[in-house]
Subunit: 362 residues, 2 copies
C-alpha cells in the first residue's frame, strides 16, 4: 500500500478551503473584545484563520507536535556546506537525547518533537527514532536527479503517514522540522525552479560558508538547474529532480495536514521550499500554513515577497530543525487565547466609544 | 521620604553598565552549542545580554512581573482619542478581573500583572489594585504643563517603589504596562521634544482615529510643544510639561530596574517614550531594556531607527497595557533556555566542522 501517483492525486483532490463563514463570525467576536479594532494585529489574524481551519469559534492548539525529518544529500560531495555530512546522524542522536535547539524550544512552548529518518546516509537506530528510510541519501543534483519520482513519492508517503499518526495521537497543530547537511542547496534549487529566480539571488550561506564557497554553491545550484531542466515537468518531477528526501517528506506532511484540516507551522528556508512545492501541487494548502519566521538565509525574503506572505517572526534565525516553528507555535497559541479568553465590552462593562460605532477608519 | 530631585540624582548615579566580561564568556558558551555560529540570531543576543545584566552565565527569567500603571490625561478634552476617558477606570477594573489582553498574554507566558493607579481621574478601588494616585489626571498639555516637576517626581517615585517591591518579591524580569486614554498624545510630544521630530511624523492614530481627528491631534501635539517650549529644559522638566503620570511612573520603574540590574521589557509606543525619557536621564539604562515590539502606531519606527534599536517582535500590535512586553518575555526566556539547556558539541558528540575552526565569515 505504498504512496504512488494515484495516492497523491487523491490527497490533492481531498484538500478543501478553510471555513470562511466561521472566520467571519470569529471577526465579530474579535471586534467585541475589550481592545481597539485590530489592535492585536497578527495575533488576531492568526486566531481567526485557526477558526477557519478547525471550523470552530473555540479553536485549540494545546496539543502541538513538531515532525523533524532527517535526510542526506549527494550534493554535499561538491563542498557546498561548512559542515561534514556525518553531522546529520550526529544531530539526529542529539534530537533523540533532547539536547538540540528544537528540543529546548519545543519544551518551552509545550510541543513534542518526533524525529524521522527518511533518508540519512548511514544506518541509524535510537530510542524514539521513527525509522522510515526510503534511501540512504539523495544523488548529487549537480550531476543528475536527486531521486526518482518513485523515491520522491515514497518519501512524501512517509510524511503523510507520520503526520496522520500525529493527528491520530491528538495533534491540533503540527510544526515542520528538518535536518540534512547540505539541504539549503536543494531548497535553493527548488525555489529557483518554481519561482524562476536566478541562482545567485536565492542561494545563501547556510550554516555559514565563506564568500568563496558561496560563489561555488551558486554555480552548483545553477548547474543543477541546467542538468535537470528536462526532468522538471511538474511539481512532483521537480521535487524528485532537485529536492531531498526530508523535503519530500515535509511536502507530504504539509499536504496531509491540509487534507485533515490541521494547521501546519512552516519552519524556515528548507521547510518553505517544501511548502512551496505543496502549494505548487495545490494552492489551497497555503490556507493551512503559518510561516513561522523570516530566516537570515538569503532568498527567504524573496519567497515571502513574491508570494505576498507575512512571516510571524523576524529574529534572524537560520538553524532549521523546527526551531522557528516551535517559537511561532507559542505566538499562535497566544492568539487563540486572545480570542477565547479575553472579555468582551459587554462582559467587562467597558464603553467601546467610537470603536464599535463604525466611525473609525483604521 | 518622598521621591525628590536628590533621590533622582542618587538613582541615576547608581546605574552601572552591564557586565561585559560575563557577556564575552556567554558568547563562548553560545558558540559551543550544537548549532552554526549565531544561527539562533536575536535569541542568542538576548541571552548574552541577560548574562551581562544578571552577571551570571546561568541567568533566569522564570519570575516575571508586568507593572501596568494607569493615568488620565487632560488633553483628552481636545478630542484626540476615539475612546472616552471613562474607559481608563473601566479597563483598570478589567485588568483586576483578569479579562484584558495583558492578563491573557501574561498568563500565557507565566507572568504576573500588577495594576497601579498613579493618576486616574476618578476615585478607584478594587481587589488587588495598588493605590498610589499622585493626582487625578494631568492638565491639558495644549494649554500648559501636564504636571509640576514635583508631581512628575512623585509619579516617578511610585514607579521606583512598585518596581522595588516587585524585585523584592522575586521578579527576575519586569515588563512595562500602561493604560490611559489619550496617552499616545503626550507620548508623541515627548518623542518630538527629545528627538526633534516634527509632530506630523511622530503622531499616529492611537486607538483608531479618523483622518480628520488625526490632523487635529497633530495640531494639538504641535501646540503643546510650542506652549511648553520654555519649560522643557531637561529630561525631568520635559517629562513634567509634556508627559503623563503613568509615563513618569514607567520612567521611574525603568530607572529602578536598571539600578537593581534587572532586565526590563519595554512594551509599545507609550512605554518607549518613558524609556526614552529614562535614557535621556542616563543613557546606560538602554543596556537593561529589551524593546518588545515595533508598534503599528506611526512614529514608533522612527524612534527605533534614530536610536538604532532592534525591536523583538513585528506583529502590528497597538494595544499597550503590557501586551507586547508579555509576548516578548516568552521569547527572551526561550533565549535563556537556549543558553542554559542546549547541548554543546562536546556533550553531544557532534562534529563542529568549520563552524568552530574560524574559517567562516558570517
Amino acid at each position: 500500500m505504498s504512496f504512488n501517483r494515484e495516492s497523491l492525486q487523491g490527497l490533492l483532490a481531498a484538500i478543501e478551503p478553510v471555513d470562511q463563514k466561521i472566520m467571519a463570525q470569529a471577526q465579530v467576536r474579535l471586534d467585541n473584545l475589550t481592545k481597539p479594532l485590530g489592535a492585536l494585529g497578527l495575533l488576531e489574524e492568526m486566531a481567526k484563520r485557526l477558526c477557519g481551519i478547525q471550523a470552530t469559534l473555540n479553536p485549540s492548539v494545546a496539543c502541538k507536535i513538531i515532525l523533524t525529518f532527517a535526510g542526506d544529500h549527494g550534493v554535499v560531495e561538491e563542498g557546498v556546506s561548512a559542515v561534514p555530512a556525518e553531522v546529520t546522524p550526529q544531530m539526529v542522536a542529539n534530537f533523540l537525547a533532547g539536547g538540540a535547539g528544537v528540543n529546548v524550544l519545543a519544551n518551552h512552548v509545550g510541543a513534542q518533537v518526533r524525529v524521522i529518518d527518511v533518508g540519512v546516509a548511514v544506518p541509524l537506530t535510537g530510542q524514539g527514532l521513527i525509522q522510515a528510510k526510503v534511501k540512504a541519501g539523495t544523488a548529487n543534483i549537480r550531476k543528475g536527479p536527486a531521486m526518482t519520482e518513485e523515491e520522491a513519492l515514497a518519501a512524501m508517503g512517509v510524511g503523510v503517514e507520520v503526520a496522520s499518526q500525529a493527528i491520530a495521537d491528538g495533534a491540533e497543530i503540527l510544526g515542520t522540522g528538518e535536518m540534512g547537511i547540505g539541504n539549503t542547496t536543494p531548497a535553493a534549487a527548488l525555489f529557483a525552479s518554481f519561482m524562476d529566480i536566478p541562482a545567485d539571488q536565492i542561494t545563501g550561506r547556510g550554516t555559514g560558508i565563506s564568500d568563496t564557497v558561496l560563489a561555488h554553491k551558486i554555480q552548483v545550484v545553477a548547474d543543477a538547474l541546467v542538468v535537470n531542466a528536462g526532468l522538471c515537468q511538474d511539481p512532483l518531477s521537480t521535487l524528485a529532480a532537485l529536492g531531498g528526501l526530508e523535503i519530500a517528506a515535509l511536502c507530504g506532511m504539509i499536504l496531509e495536514s491540509a487534507r485533515r484540516k490541521v494547521a501546519v507551522v512552516v519552519d524556515g528556508f528548507i521547510a518553505s521550499a517544501a511548502a512551496l512545492t505543496a502549494m505548487e501541487m495545490n494552492p489551497t494548502v497555503l490556507e493551512y500554513c503559518f510561516f513561522s519566521h523570516m530566516s537570515a538565509e538569503q532568498g527567504h525574503r524573496l519567497f515571502f515577497e513574491k508570494r505576498a506572505i507575512r512571516p510571524i517572526l523576524h529574529l534572524g534565525l537560520r538553524l532549521g530543525e523546527g526551531t522557528g516553528a516551535a517559537l511561532a507555535m507559542g505566538l499562535i497559541e497566544a492568539g487563540v487565547k486572545i480570542l477565547t479568553q479575553m472579555a468582551t465590552f459587554g462582559e467587562a462593562g467597558v464603553t467601546p466609544g467610537e470603536i464599535l460605532a463604525g466611525t473609525t477608519d483604521t
